[in-house]
Subunit: 176 residues, 2 copies
Amino acid sequence: MDNLKALKAKLNDQGYKLTPQRQLIFDIFQTLATGKHLSAESLHMLLVERGEGMSLSTVYRNLKIMTKMGILREVELAQAQKHYELNTISTHHHHIVCVQCHQIIEFKNNSILQEGLKQVETNGLQLIDCQFTLHTICPEALEMGWPTTSSNWVCPRFTTVSKAKSLGNQQLKLEN
Amino acid sequence: MDNLKALKAKLNDQGYKLTPQRQLIFDIFQTLATGKHLSAESLHMLLVERGEGMSLSTVYRNLKIMTKMGILREVELAQAQKHYELNTISTHHHHIVCVQCHQIIEFKNNSILQEGLKQVETNGLQLIDCQFTLHTICPEALEMGWPTTSSNWVCPRFTTVSKAKSLGNQQLKLEN
DNA sequence: ATCTGTGCAAATAGTTTGCAGCTGG
DNA sequence: CCAGCTGCAAACTATTTGCACAGAT
């Protein structure tokens, strides 16, 4: 596979090696459904299920390296753990997250990425990742008396809506 | 003070009480220099230095509540801990963070907030916080062979520059 | 009177690290 | 063959929680 060669080149370029473990991790992210993020823990479980033994520390170590290199992006949404996804221009997107039910809506918006690039270049820096994150509350939770709502109350909105509303030429999709 | 009344009203409205501890925390954030964030730990230390005994758990508990209510915003930048700052429209800003030296540049950009509001309203949600975060690397670190750079190497760029470059009508200032 | 808040100490969860042996370039 | 990588177990750090008591409305 071509992407694999590129990965190897990128790694070697920085003095890192292409190990079977790194290959596997990269592969999982490449075949991951759009809009899915993995935590270190869930990635590890996925690997174990696949019959690929790999230690959790190795997972952590490699997620870190691949994030540093800009291969993956690390997103901190509502949950306690960090989540990871491939960091490519074509799949680049942002997140709306409900602070009560923790559901996530992804959306694309190129003008925001452009704005980010401009801002970064103006300061003579190089962009590694650009994250636009909107913390929101759903009207249903507000009716329930949020923020006093019980922590496990789940907003019905996202479980019934299959696709979030799109805005202009921007495309939105519902996230797991 | 007027802000204090507003705080009390907001809290009572949700069934929370205005305790001396909450007042103190709010006060600290109000008098905090622009561009400064506090972690739970550093806020606690600040309180202790001031001679205000308060348990760390109380700090954590109240930071959480005040973030939920939109009084504070929780930012996850390069560090391991979460940091907090007041969440007001007039002070609303975004962050550029260097992934090597962890220095932060703040910048204002109203069009981004507008974009966020539009996006959120289109989905029938209510905005609590809007964060635009750019992860970048400084050219100096790249020259040093980043990402293989040692973890405590500090980019000289930010320590010498007193004010980051501004972009258009947007205003930039150097952080903490 | 009741319900929320606090301090303390203990618990937890996510992540990191030291070390001895293994492996890719 | 050598610097980087892995697995394991132990360590660590930020944050959360249970409980008994105190305080506000």
